[in-house]
């Protein structure tokens, strides 16, 4: 065990060793996050005040607030923002409700837990691009997919979605729900298992029905975990681009275009890096505001928690 070590260790043992060690542990991570996250973010903020293009036709110049002014009246940005909000609110709500229901079922000590847990992890471990192919492109394929074939065999009308804005959005939400409902199941299942069984026994002694036990014991105790899970999931859902780009390409028209896809098309398709960065930066501010509003609303709804 006592093999000779590098000089750095000897320095550590000298005076102020603790202070030195402290820095060695935290510094690399801080430097990487500053360099690869904070610096690009500030750089991107700088770009929003310029006229930078991807292929420099003219030298990059200071452009004042022109990009931000353009953003305020850009119908396509507002539309993309609306699409993204629909995707997040409808999708995450659906995933939470399904997740809660399935977590309550799985909490009943059924057999085959290991198999269920692997089945829950599997969709989350897959690439959203692969999931988009599996569900959006193959299973929901209008001509070669099994869904329409089965509907046809049952004598039901076919599900046409590629030309319908609403149905295209439904397919996108379906793809996301297939992949991410398991996250809610896993988190809520962990929450359910941490509720002490004495609470249920006490409720049973008081003659509570199953619904009353859910309404007054299970649900309130799951709320903090639920809020965390919804917030984490919504933050990820806001960033959607892969599902949209593979399944609908933002179409029909731009009916399902997300903000990230919109900014990508502006920046790499149109070469307008400055305006694309403005869209992206504004989007980040909007996400932060939405999170803060959500959290303060939750805090107001839970006054009894001290």
């Amino acid at each position: 065990m006592n093999q000779p070590k590098s000089a750095a260790h000897n320095v550590d043992r000298a005076s102020g060793a603790d202070r030195q060690a402290r820095r060695i542990f935290l510094l690399p991570a801080v430097v990487i996050v500053l360099g690869l996250s904070i610096f690009p973010l500030l750089f991107s903020l700088g770009i929003t005040f310029s006229n930078m293009r991807l292929l420099a036709a003219q030298p990059t110049q200071f452009n004042g607030l022109a990009n931000w002014a353009r953003l305020l009246t850009d119908q396509q940005f507002h539309h993309a923002l609306q699409n993204t909000l629909t995707f997040v609110v409808a999708g995450v709500t659906l995933q939470y409700l399904l997740g809660l229901g399935l977590a309550l079922l799985l909490n009943m000590n059924l057999r085959g837990r290991r198999f269920f847990r692997i089945s829950l992890l599997l969709p989350m471990m897959m690439s959203p691009v692969a999931v988009s192919y599996l569900i959006g492109r193959m299973v929901f394929s209008e001509t070669y997919g099994p869904i329409n074939d089965i509907l046809f065999k049952l004598g039901l009308p076919a599900f046409h979605w590629t030309l319908s804005a609403t149905n295209s959005m439904l397919v996108l939400i379906g793809v996301d729900t297939w992949q991410w409902t398991p996250l809610f199941i896993l988190i809520l299942l962990a929450g359910l298992q941490s509720i002490p069984s004495e609470l249920y026994e006490a409720a049973r002694v008081d003659g509570a029905t199953s619904w009353q036990m859910f309404r007054f014991v299970t649900f309130p105790l799951l709320l903090p975990v639920s809020v965390t899970a919804i917030l984490v999931r919504a933050l990820e859902a806001f960033k959607v681009i892969d599902i949209v780009r593979v399944v609908t390409g933002g179409g029909p028209g731009n009916a399902t275009e997300s903000v990230t896809l919109f900014a990508y098309n502006l920046g790499l398709g149109g070469g307008d890096i400055a305006y694309a960065s403005t869209v992206a930066f504004a989007f980040m501010i909007i996400i932060i505001v939405i999170c803060l509003v959500f959290l303060s609303a939750v805090r107001r709804a839970l006054p009894q928690r001290g």
């Binding site: 603790d18 801080v30 897959m126 690439s127 990230t260």
Partner: protein, 289 residues
């Protein structure tokens, strides 16, 4: 005693199994469909919608042969090699540096202005709020100056910054569970903090480190936006290869199916390995924090 009770099947229990069975069908049917699609010939695929190999269509390995041995093979191998190198290296660096930071945040008291350890940890994890599109365009401009566009190193570097905050957050919880006393006795033996970390805390936190490594690996393996913007031909990863199938003239389901099945293999392995850590409470611990 237990088995005699199980014979009486209560109706709600049957209903619960039924509902969970439906969920399992929803989860596994698309995977099954993808696998059998990869076994159909283009002609069979266009001719009819078939569900069962050997019963309503004759499975072949033609698509697999053409993707793995045909003219597309070099691009397929390159994408999978790129994905493996980029994901493994960025996950290893994120795990190691995240482990050090997580350890530091549970063993020392840091002061940075008015910030204490909890604020620093929150600063790390708050990076996840930022939509990646807000930085990735800046990455593209910076990488063009540095000559890092379309390189594995550049992509791995970007992913390391992307994965590190989560690694710090999870591993801080892990090291908090490991009693300090074990290291303190080592420090009395005149070992340095670094050696206490390396030879005592690091091995004890191994389950957490493995879990974080797997999570970082699979996030990187699956990530699309960074790869889309920062790479073209040489350093592209698997999701990029997969997504490029859609822009080709006409959608070639058999090609997609083969690539999708291949891309899912690491996902299956990660799911099976990670399952153990759910039991040991990795996720429940993260939720309580």
């Amino acid at each position: 005693m237990v088995s005699s009770r199980r014979i009486v099947l209560k109706p709600w229990r049957v209903a619960a199994y039924g509902l969970i069975l439906i969920w399992c069908v929803v989860v596994y049917f698309p995977l099954y469909w993808c696998v059998i699609t990869s076994l159909k010939t283009p002609l069979a695929l266009m001719a009819s919608i078939a569900y069962f190999p050997w019963i309503d269509f004759q499975p072949t390995l033609d698509s697999w042969r053409s993707m793995l041995l045909g003219t597309d093979a070099p691009q397929v191998y390159l994408s999978f090699t790129n994905g493996a190198i980029v994901s493994l290296s960025s996950a290893a660096v994120a795990m190691f540096l995240g482990g050090m930071a997580g350890y530091g945040l549970t063993r020392f008291t840091y002061r940075f202005g008015s910030w204490r350890n909890n604020d620093i940890a929150f600063w790390f994890v708050s990076q996840r709020i930022m939509p990646p599109i807000a930085v990735v365009l800046a990455f593209l401009i910076l990488y063009r100056y540095l000559g890092l566009v379309d390189t594995r190193f550049g992509l791995a570097l970007a992913y390391t910054g992307f994965n590190l905050p989560l690694a710090v957050w999870i591993l801080r919880d892990f090291f908090a569970e490991i009693p300090k006393e074990l290291e303190e006795s080592a420090l009395l033996d005149a070992a340095s903090w670094l050696r206490a970390f390396w030879s005592i805390a690091f091995p004890l936190a191994l389950p957490g480190l493995v879990a974080v490594f797997i999570l970082c690996f699979i996030f990187t393996w699956n990530e699309y936006l960074f790869a889309l913007i920062l790479t073209f031909q040489r350093a592209g990863t698997v999701p990029l290869l997969l997504a490029s199938q859609v822009t080709a003239t006409g959608v070639q389901y058999w090609r997609m199916a083969v690539l999708a099945v291949l891309s899912i293999v690491p996902s299956v392995i990660c799911a099976v390995v990670l399952e153990r850590y759910i039991v040991s409470g990795l996720f429940s611990g993260g939720v309580k924090a």
